[in-house]
Symmetry: D2
Subunit: 389 residues, 4 copies
Amino acid sequence: MTLPLSQIRAGVIGAGFIGPVHIEALKRLGIQVTAVCGSTASARAVAERFGIPEVFGDYDYAALIASPSVDVVHITSPNRQHFAQALAVLRAGKHCVCEKPLAMNPRETAALVKAAAKAGVVFAVNYNVRFYPAVLQLRAMIARGDLGEIIHVNGSYMQDWLLKDTDYNWRLLAEEGGALRAIADIGTHWLDTASFVLSSPVTRLLADLSTFHQQRRRPIAEVKTFSKAGAKTRFASYDVDTEDFASVLLAFGNGAHGNLGVSQVAAGRKNCIRLEIYGSKQSAWWCSENPDVLHFGRRDAANATAFRACAEFGDASGFTDYPGGHVEGFPDSFKMLYRAIYADIARGKPSAEPLYATAADGHAEVQLCEAILKSHRAQRWVSLPPTSP
Amino acid sequence: MTLPLSQIRAGVIGAGFIGPVHIEALKRLGIQVTAVCGSTASARAVAERFGIPEVFGDYDYAALIASPSVDVVHITSPNRQHFAQALAVLRAGKHCVCEKPLAMNPRETAALVKAAAKAGVVFAVNYNVRFYPAVLQLRAMIARGDLGEIIHVNGSYMQDWLLKDTDYNWRLLAEEGGALRAIADIGTHWLDTASFVLSSPVTRLLADLSTFHQQRRRPIAEVKTFSKAGAKTRFASYDVDTEDFASVLLAFGNGAHGNLGVSQVAAGRKNCIRLEIYGSKQSAWWCSENPDVLHFGRRDAANATAFRACAEFGDASGFTDYPGGHVEGFPDSFKMLYRAIYADIARGKPSAEPLYATAADGHAEVQLCEAILKSHRAQRWVSLPPTSP
Amino acid sequence: MTLPLSQIRAGVIGAGFIGPVHIEALKRLGIQVTAVCGSTASARAVAERFGIPEVFGDYDYAALIASPSVDVVHITSPNRQHFAQALAVLRAGKHCVCEKPLAMNPRETAALVKAAAKAGVVFAVNYNVRFYPAVLQLRAMIARGDLGEIIHVNGSYMQDWLLKDTDYNWRLLAEEGGALRAIADIGTHWLDTASFVLSSPVTRLLADLSTFHQQRRRPIAEVKTFSKAGAKTRFASYDVDTEDFASVLLAFGNGAHGNLGVSQVAAGRKNCIRLEIYGSKQSAWWCSENPDVLHFGRRDAANATAFRACAEFGDASGFTDYPGGHVEGFPDSFKMLYRAIYADIARGKPSAEPLYATAADGHAEVQLCEAILKSHRAQRWVSLPPTSP
Amino acid sequence: MTLPLSQIRAGVIGAGFIGPVHIEALKRLGIQVTAVCGSTASARAVAERFGIPEVFGDYDYAALIASPSVDVVHITSPNRQHFAQALAVLRAGKHCVCEKPLAMNPRETAALVKAAAKAGVVFAVNYNVRFYPAVLQLRAMIARGDLGEIIHVNGSYMQDWLLKDTDYNWRLLAEEGGALRAIADIGTHWLDTASFVLSSPVTRLLADLSTFHQQRRRPIAEVKTFSKAGAKTRFASYDVDTEDFASVLLAFGNGAHGNLGVSQVAAGRKNCIRLEIYGSKQSAWWCSENPDVLHFGRRDAANATAFRACAEFGDASGFTDYPGGHVEGFPDSFKMLYRAIYADIARGKPSAEPLYATAADGHAEVQLCEAILKSHRAQRWVSLPPTSP
């Protein structure tokens, strides 16, 4: 039996930037958001803004998980807390949507893969980029052979919000966000997306990581993600032990080669995911800064540009709502991700091959990050372990 | 005193394509959607999908308006019903958001202007294009003189969903949608947007309307907006008395000249609003198919491209939620429109100079359409009446 | 018998901006440039620069025409001199390539049509835009029906080099360049191109002309086309009696409607010819600022982008030299124009239906300009005389 | 004393695809082309086409070099012949313009560096990409610090003309073109351009080369560069020992990191050089498929697009002829390259720091290619020898 989405009740841990993004997307789908948890002040503010009945302040996530009004728990807290919270959700036998990264290291993520399998619930990692209709369409086309054999993949994920030495965010500090930064924060999105569209894991890689600002200056006060320093801000210097930008060469299980550039110091790139896939029949190019179109490169015919919801987007038709030319964007990718996840939740269990990232996918990404760090330190190619944990 | 948005309760008349667009946007803002009205089947379906408690089937809009659970009524029914329904809402002393066109003729719209003024409530016409942040930004810049004196405006609104003679929609028939079609359906959006960004009304115009398919073939069955005919569909021929495309030359109150092309038979244009404004200091260009950027044309410096939420979008900062590069699109324009409208509703009355289209603006657009028809029939320039009704 | 191009000898009247453009293109084709005429100083400079043996100073064009070393005469002098010079070339029985406009009024151009027919030589008007391979390709495709029935054409020709009131050029003065300026200088290129690609003349039009700077300031000194005023320049005021920008609505002989915007005060548009042709099967779009590609708009398939020299440019293959992606641009359009003209010259007489603009085409354009002026003054639609003079 | 260009006489060795490209560009500048050498048939054809007086058939390049009518020799023969021919030109004391690669290995190129220095003549390697005005402008801006400190460079050079296993060209065979193909044919252009704009050599690199078609089929007949197989062509299989595509990670002398992708099997990329340079003040992006514009990426201001010959192209003003918006393309880059080279020839000797690639630059590129091969074979990072030979 399948529940209507409007009878499923979600609780959200985290009331910062990304928590409300989840809430908004859930409400668009008619899903009830019944509980929120965070600092007392911000959880209250979010609850009032969205009309959420239950508020769990003081970061009391255990109480939210235990609430009888909550069927599904969204984890949008800082990275270090994902593991414990996800484990608690699974132990409570509830469905879970966890922000990426799944956890801080492969040991933790392997444990979560096991726990999720044991719990038998729906467990998803929030890799939203998969749910741009263009990305879903690409995956279906490649699986069907529309691009032919995949020869090579070229792309990048670039941003500029950490360009200046006065730009500050907790992710800059290894002790807060982990030893990898540009890779773990955005590179992992590109890598997950590339493996997803190719339906093939990375098997081998070589990485070159660099820190342009080896010393930065930190404003003496708390700073929100994406906010910037003003003229009167006072600063303290600190050493940076995470990378500003990186290049990663890749080999995929299907024989394709890959070349990825990642940067958080790329002036003029606001949030630019570029993915170019070159096949033996045709190529396909997509960019997140104009996400509603998909470009095809052809050798013996004109190149093509397809609009979402129109010709050549038929495979993604279940994950798009507005007619072609009525642009869907970043927030819509969350809506479509939750449409896929909650279709499984409505049936009560994961489907056999879900489109959304599972615990295993989240684990694979953390393994990949480890391999990138290892390759960079050793300055040589590194092979990935087989994908099943 | 200002209410939190989550305590305001909206009811929506209309359960077709555009009703759910309203509902989704309202829910994103935390506004309660408490009632829906339509055919019994579709109202029930929409209610179940979004978890809406009150359902008014059999098109019983009077009951929805009368419901004590409804503070604000959204009218998304067919054009011919807007007048009676809007009047009923006003007579009930409730706030009203009416889809465009406000009504079928200037007599009706003038009556609504009066009724809205008398009721003292918030009354908005759903011209959502104004609320793309790029459009709001443009308006602020032009008002401040950033473009200098406005010399001329060039643009178009083009679609291709009525290109084939087998494409069918009720708007094709004058008796259903009115004597104007391409102009009344989409041209009016461009015209409202142009006047909005210029802060100046159209004062004089010349129109050339054309019907490419003077006879079309209609599928023998009911058809939804934006759906297309299949191979096995059976057809009946009928004469078309509404225009497929049009050109309109314009003069604005501020002395600027305008040139507008409108078409619903423009292959490859899905929903393409192009607006180019040429000023004595610089020009600005915007296109709805890539809505998150604004281009500036300069004579003695490089041209510029600004991203939403970044440099040079400061004036629209209250009407955008996601960081630059995380594209906002068509559905977001509804969200931002309702943010503006519901800010007034939260205060209990219209602000002095609202950004959203008022009854007077809706009236002006209907007058403009009448003038376009008149100009076309007379094949000459026509002056507009002064803007106050 | 056909001569090799390297045995044909051209003389060029005019040593300003456009004369050397002709010379360069001729030399690329291996055609000999044997004579140049202009002011004594500039003719000498051009001759030395290009190694041209005969120099006719003091504007002695009659001597150049009479030279036994000259088989073909290119006229690149100011507009007012085209008529007398072209007539002299024809009377000398030599081939002639005349810059546009062909002459100052339809009486003159009609006389040249007759004189050219009588002389039996090759006579071409220098409408180079026809010879972008994309434009040639479009014409062939439309003639073959690849776009279906043409519904409407939308486009513009915009520049910004006269945006400021201190920008000066002799074309600004009606007594120098004629009563029309933006239309006669650049609009005529768009109109010729549109008629060329449609293989159909304009039959009816309505024009709206405007002068933004009704008074301008002129630097007290001689000024070259495209040069700009500096900080120390001194100025004298003068009244402007030619239009800065215009809109023209059009009907073509094949039933298509047209909408043209023209402006020389459009900040950020350097030399932007935009041509969008909407057909019942597909549409096609081209822009001179990225001239090597042709875009196709489609209703039920993805839109397409074709590169010159690649798929879907087969009809223009005789008029392009470099492989796809090796961009050909503005100077190449002159080369290809002369390739067509000199193929006829090499055979000794005009072909039956030349691709280049003939005297009749040049005459039609001058008639069109007259009709535009008449329509603007009368503020009404005007019909064109039949195309044969 | 400086000669007028029209008094300098060039002879061209090679009458295939690229020889005429040289000839055309020379003639545009008014330089005399007095001799051509190649197979007897093709040399005669080229001579007739361009009106070249001296023809040296049967590949008799020694005779061309010895001709008293030749001041400068252009070498456009197959790669293997560059060394012997260049040496012969230098021994004759004549100026030389040699196509890239300068020769087949660093031993040969080092010898040419010495011979050129000893001869004291002008010696240039034909790296034409440097002479797109956008590239010249970039170099000047970076040298002046307009981009700040250069952080990283990301780019690619992609084509699709060897995508199919039936596409044939002599470059596919190591014995004909050398062990490297995609890198040596096009990658070297990107590498030269990157070092040129950064004014900094590559110091360290890691390469990954791949051959997608390890076996190809060759048409049984002679094949021209850029031509394609038809339906009736008959084929013979052969093994391919040169790379179809490659990734190269780079470190430059100025501390910048680089990431280059190269492919000749990239469907839809006709001749796409992409260069993105990220600096601490701003970034700059250029693409050869739309070469007349330069994009700037900015963190705290709008991004910018500059047109050639307009604002922000001031540093390249000596190497561009047409006004902004009148697109210059690929053939114009040759014209501008020769303008620089022949300015030195007109003075009789090389300038101190020429913009064009010298023998030393050509030598550095061949060294770079060797290092790429070495890195690929060893699967590790490789350091470059210091740049002076």
